[in-house]
């Protein structure tokens, strides 16, 4: 169970950095790069390339040595992970995901330019996260920071030091590394203000059929945490309504037995940003209390979709007409950054629309002009309608037509609607209290809720 290595490609398919590939022939990584580039060239849509490409390679004696090329796209770079032998491709993907997180932590944004600028750090990271046999070594950023200095720290340290470390090789490394008994947390942390923030982020993913009935709707939530606490704090987080959390997946720091016993989260947090827990929210009762108005026909297991789309789309020869109406079902909150996208088909040439609306039932701020806009992306062939701020119970319209080079245009059968709701959560998950043991201070804690929606509405 080990991967063969990692290759980072720029967006033209050329390698920027790769790990050693010490146990294979020099041609091996090249074969994988070629295989991927060929597959990309052949595919019509970039996203449709199989994530695991079969690559027949040959060893020195011309015997077939089958392998597979796992790859992911990350910003403008593509990270390739060749595997051979009996390896779990998920192992490769999990590692790639972790590696991207490390890069983000170190460099902020991950792009071909930043990686080239910091190639020596990337190299060290590769060496520390992956040994030549392809076994992941250290992937927790907390421990990595001890052995590979992040770019900003190196420059700071070097600027302040007048003489090179005489005894220890380098001042920050050495004794501290792996001294911590907890693999995910550094030892000896000190903060002036001890604070910890929890962001409860929930995403609604739904498919709604043309009658407005949700076919499937799921809420996936996660608690993003940012801990800045001194020493080795042992935390106990309890919720008033833990029953809304189902199908949980926890950060390794969480004591699973404790959760199984009394549904409270007991953990020693890593330092900095991490995701404490992923969960799925399944409403328990038949009337889901998200908006208050339970429509008949919505079964108990489905989360209510807080928006209604009425669409009249007619497809004619060389074009068609659209008439869309969006209404918010939220009683008290506004939706932000709402967008509705419709793919108009490969041959689409243009669109022309009028937006109107903003009539709402209740009070609330009048939406400013410029709030609502539409545009046609001629590259992606997508019509995009944006509403910056959608007050509660308001209604917006979009009317217009589109043109197409095809006699029988085939637009997508569904619109993709995305929106955000701040200070809100679908599950109404509430933190009861956070208790800290093991350290003497009292931390400042903050909890925020945020929702995003991603709804596929068929017409």
């Amino acid at each position: 169970m080990a991967i063969d290595g990692i290759i980072i490609l720029d967006n033209s398919g050329r390698p920027i950095i790769q790990s050693g590939f010490r146990s294979c022939s020099p041609a091996y990584p090249l074969l994988h790069i070629d295989a991927l580039n060929n597959a990309l060239a052949k595919s019509t849509r970039v996203g449709d390339v199989d994530p695991i490409i079969y690559v027949p390679t040959y060893d020195g004696r011309d015997a077939l040595l089958p392998s597979a090329c796992c790859h992911i796209l990350c910003g403008d770079i593509r990270i390739v992970c060749p595997v051979s032998g009996e390896v779990d491709p998920l192992f490769a993907f999990a590692f790639l995901q972790g590696f991207v997180e490390i890069l983000q932590e170190y460099f902020g944004t991950v792009s071909a330019a930043t990686l080239k600028d910091n190639f020596d750090v990337v190299y060290q990271l590769l060496e520390e996260t992956l040994d030549s046999g392809g076994h992941p070594l250290t992937t927790s950023t907390n421990a990595l920071r001890d052995i590979v200095l992040p770019p900003s720290l190196i420059s700071k340290l070097l600027a302040n030091l007048s003489t090179p470390g005489a005894g220890g090789m380098s001042p920050a490394t050495g004794a501290g590394a792996f001294a911590s008994p907890i693999p995910w947390r550094k030892a000896g942390l000190r903060y002036n203000n001890n604070d910890i923030y929890f962001d409860v982020v929930e995403e609604l993913r739904a498919v709604v059929n043309k009658n407005g009935t949700p076919l499937s709707s799921n809420v996936w939530g996660k608690i993003e945490t940012n801990a800045k606490l001194s020493g080795t704090p042992d935390l106990l987080l309890t919720f008033t309504n833990p029953q809304v959390l189902t199908d949980c997946a926890f950060h390794p720091c969480v004591r699973l037995q404790r959760w199984t016993r009394d549904k409270s989260l007991s953990f020693v947090p890593p330092d900095g940003h991490f995701i404490l827990l992923d969960y799925r929210y399944v409403p328990s009762g038949p009337a889901s209390a998200v908006t208050g108005s339970g429509t008949p026909g919505v079964r108990g297991e489905l989360v209510h979709v807080p928006i209604v789309l009425k669409s009249l789309i007619e497809v004619n020869e060389f074009g068609g007409t659209l008439d869309l109406t969006l209404t918010s079902r939220l009683a008290s909150r506004a939706m932000e950054n709402l967008s509705a996208e419709l793919y108009l088909g490969e041959e689409a040439t243009g669109a022309s629309c009028m937006t109107s609306g903003g009539q709402w039932g209740g009070g609330g701020a009048k939406s400013l002009p410029g709030d609502v806009s539409w545009r046609f992306d001629s590259k992606k062939k997508v019509l995009r309608w944006e509403i910056q701020n959608m007050p509660s119970s308001s209604t917006f319209h979009l009317r217009g037509s589109f043109t197409s080079g095809a006699k029988n245009p085939r637009p997508a059968r569904a619109l993709r609607i995305r929106f955000e709701i701040h200070q809100h959560s679908f599950s109404a998950l509430k933190v009861d209290q956070l208790r800290l043991t093991g350290e003497g201070y009292k931390p400042y804690k903050g909890v925020r809720g945020r929702c995003v929606g991603d709804v596929e509405w068929r017409w």
């Binding site: 030549s132 250290t138 799925r280």
Partner: protein
């Protein structure tokens, strides 16, 4: 210094060896803070990255090893890792430095030194490493111990006997009891890798060690957990209780954030279930496995894809796992195509009477989508659904007819192809729709669809008033048609003649086709079949009719499931490449150790009955060209698509004709000969199954829609329904 930072991109320019050498030499004097050396080394490393050969600088770079700065040391080691192998005559220069670093008081440097040495498989290096490694495996610092554990694998790969002589395997075994969890997991990883080698020692776990490892599980890193979980497959439970208790402790890991941990835990649970006796426990575990599999689907498309391919395997073995979750697998229109196709397959597997309506509505939605490939498969799935779930057949037919009405060029052919199978599955029930189908004859361009339509016209010629006209039209392009269409036309013409032998037009038509087939065609199959029909008709038209229009065996979709034993074995590879391609790794990965369920008193009777023991002889890999997405199997079978044209003739009766009904021995001979060449594969998928290979039908059991065509009932194992519990 700090200004340097962030502009390293400029090092990415081709440098000359001589230039670097001069710069390095110049750096030896007056190098404050070793700054100059560092810059040159950075340039050299950047050049290695670009693939420029920097090995001529070997002696110069090695000089820098004495510099007391970790950053420089790391870069020199990086250089050594890249070129050490290619300099066996100069490597002795470095060994003193290596040995010194192995005893440095900084654990990071000790670890770095043995790690670098292990990357250079040259006897001198391995020899000095062996001595150091023995100490490092017992080092007081866990970082050194965990690095040493992995180094053992490298030594073992280079010189297995030396590693064994030095007692490294025993030392690794001791490390499994180390107080540090990371060390434990690395020792496990090392032992597993050695155990997977063909020349390696056999690595098995007993109950005590397995329990010990489970304790370390909680404190390990996610990768360590994967290694530990994975090696639990090396433990063979002797009692049901052992398996049950262990499963209880593994279940907790299903809640891990790392998807690979979750899938590995599922693999272990599936394995342990084979050794359990209590039905309730098994049901309980199945129920526990569902939600985590669904959670995997909230990740990125790559993870989803791997998860879906594995779920497809799991639900065939344990249908209880996601029985009520078909909705989770509904496709979104912006899913990548590979995710959509994998979901479609699972939706079909999960379809049953209770959810058939929802599934059908969903499939209909897909059939109107933009992506052509996906639309075709959706239409096929509607047909397969009709065949699988009888109560849904009516509405499926209605939906298919609706789709045909759309006249979309790629929907109609697919619909016709599946309707042909529906006719076979429900004889006498839906023939009323034939006139509607006949209206769309002109739309059929593709051979498979055309052949299907011709089969329908021929088979039901008695119910179609103008069958002779239709067939005459179709015959217009006979000589240019692909052979599968020609074969279908030939058979259909004979059937028409059998039905309507009074009509002169029919006589003329069949005569024309037989003449063409026997005199103007080069294809031997077609010619042989032409001759056979001709003689048959000439000798006794009545019996010819009996033979040509004999009752056909009904078809079912049961047989598209995999052999149970093969499934059990494949599930031991859950999550690996084998489960993506649905092939057993040892068939396409050289040197992969096969896995098999190991017999023990606890193994439940049913799993034992279908168990496929491990064959130790490894087939030499042969070069095989790959067809389709998966890798080749070394014992090749024909790739299922494209279908072999012979199987179009559906008119031949599979049961052999009783001898007395054949009037002349000559025609009997012909029949018998025909039995061996193209008999009753007509609905089978033309993959001759190999008697000794349990996997010969794997392609048929999975994935390819061609391969998933319905098969004669007889081929299936009795009347297993999808809801049948496969537990015992």
């Amino acid at each position: 210094m700090s200004g340097q930072h962030g502009q390293d991109a400029k090092f990415f320019q081709r440098g000359k060896i001589e230039e670097f050498r001069t710069e390095l030499q110049a750096a030896e004097a007056k190098d404050k803070k070793f700054l100059k050396r560092k810059i040159v080394l950075k340039k050299i490393v950047a050049n290695i990255t670009m693939g420029n050969d920097m090995s001529p600088l070997f002696t110069d770079v090695v000089q820098c090893l004495g510099t007391p700065l970790l950053e420089i040391k790391k870069m020199v080691y990086l250089f050594l890792v890249s070129y050490g192998r290619s300099k066996p005559d100069q490597i002795h220069l470095v060994i003193p430095s290596f040995l010194q670093d192995c005893n440095d008081r900084n654990p990071l440097i000790r670890a770095l030194a043995i790690r670098t040495m292990s990357y250079i498989p040259i006897p001198v290096v391995t020899e000095s490493l062996s001595d150091q490694l023995r100490h490092c495996l017992k080092d007081r610092d866990p970082y050194v111990r965990k690095t040493a554990a992995i180094c053992v694998v490298k030594v073992y790969t280079a010189e297995p006997r030396r590693a064994e002589k030095n007692g490294f395997v025993e030392l690794l075994r001791d490390l499994m009891l180390d107080p540090n969890a990371t060390v434990v997991s690395n020792a496990v990883a090392a032992l597993s890798e050695i155990g997977d080698r063909h020349d390696g020692v056999i690595f098995k776990l007993n109950l005590t060690i397995a329990n010990k490892l489970l304790t370390a599980l909680g404190e390990s890193s996610e990768w360590g957990q994967i290694y530990i979980l994975d090696c639990l497959l090396r433990y063979v439970p002797e009692q049901h209780e052992d398996a049950e208790q262990m499963a209880e402790r593994v279940i907790i890991q299903l809640q891990h954030a790392n998807s690979a941990v979750v899938l590995t835990a599922i693999k272990v649970l599936l394995y342990l279930m084979n050794y359990m006796g209590d039905r309730q426990t098994i049901d309980y575990i199945c129920k526990k496995m569902g939600p985590p599999s669904v959670t995997l689907l909230s990740s990125g498309p790559e993870v989803q894809y791997v998860a879906l391919r594995n779920i497809l395997l799991i639900i065939q073995r344990r249908p209880a796992v996601l029985k009520n979750d078909v909705k989770v697998f509904f496709c979104k229109y912006n899913d990548p195509i590979y995710v959509k196709l994998a979901k479609l397959e699972i939706m079909y597997r999960l379809a049953r009477e209770e959810n058939a309506k929802e599934v059908l509505a969903e499939l209909y939605e897909y059939a109107t989508e933009v992506d052509i490939d996906f639309v075709r498969k959706a239409v096929r799935s509607i047909g397969r659904l009709a065949i699988k779930v009888e109560p849904a057949a009516d509405s499926c037919i209605k939906t298919l007819l609706g789709l045909i009405e759309t006249k979309v060029s790629y929907v109609v052919p697919e619909a016709i192809i599946v309707i042909k199978d529906i006719f076979r599955r429900y004889p006498g029930k839906y023939e009323g729709i034939i006139p509607t189908l006949c209206e769309h004859l002109d739309a059929l361009e593709e051979p498979e669809a055309k052949a299907a339509m011709i089969w329908i016209v021929g088979q039901f010629a008695d119910k179609i008033d103008n069958a002779d006209e239709l067939l005459d039209d179709l015959l217009y392009t006979f000589k240019e048609d692909p052979v599968e269409v020609q074969l279908a036309l030939l058979t259909a013409a004979v059937k028409l003649f059998v039905y309507k032998s009074q009509s002169d037009a029919t006589k003329e038509l069949v005569h024309k086709v037989l003449k063409w087939a026997t005199e103007e065609v080069d294809n031997p199959d077609l010619r042989d079949r032409g001759f056979m029909y001709w003689r048959l008709l000439a000798i006794n038209p009545a019996i010819a009719g009996e033979i040509v229009l004999a009752e056909k065996p009904a078809i079912t979709t049961d047989s598209d499931r995999m052999d149970r034993g093969a499934l059990d074995q494949l599930l031991l590879h859950t999550g690996t490449l084998g489960s993506i391609y649905h092939k057993n790794p040892e068939t396409f990965i050289r040197n992969a150790a096969g896995k098999a369920l190991i017999d023990s008193p606890a193994l439940n009777a049913h799993s034992r009955a279908v168990r496929i023991p491990l064959s130790r002889n490894v087939t030499e890999p042969t070069t095989v060209t790959v067809a389709g997405p998966g890798p080749p199997e070394t014992h090749t079978q024909k790739p299922s698509p494209p279908p072999i044209p012979v199987d179009i003739d559906t008119s031949k009766p599979p049961p052999p004709i009783p001898t007395e009904s054949s009037p002349s021995s000559e025609s009997k001979d012909l029949l018998e000969m025909d039995e061996t060449t193209s008999p009753d594969i007509d609905d089978d998928d033309a993959v001759p199954s190999m008697a000794n290979d349990p996997y010969s039908n794997i392609d048929g059991a999975f994935g390819n829609y061609m391969a998933d065509e319905p098969q004669p009932m007889a081929a299936g194992k009795g009347s297993r329904r999808d809801l049948d519990d496969l537990l015992f």
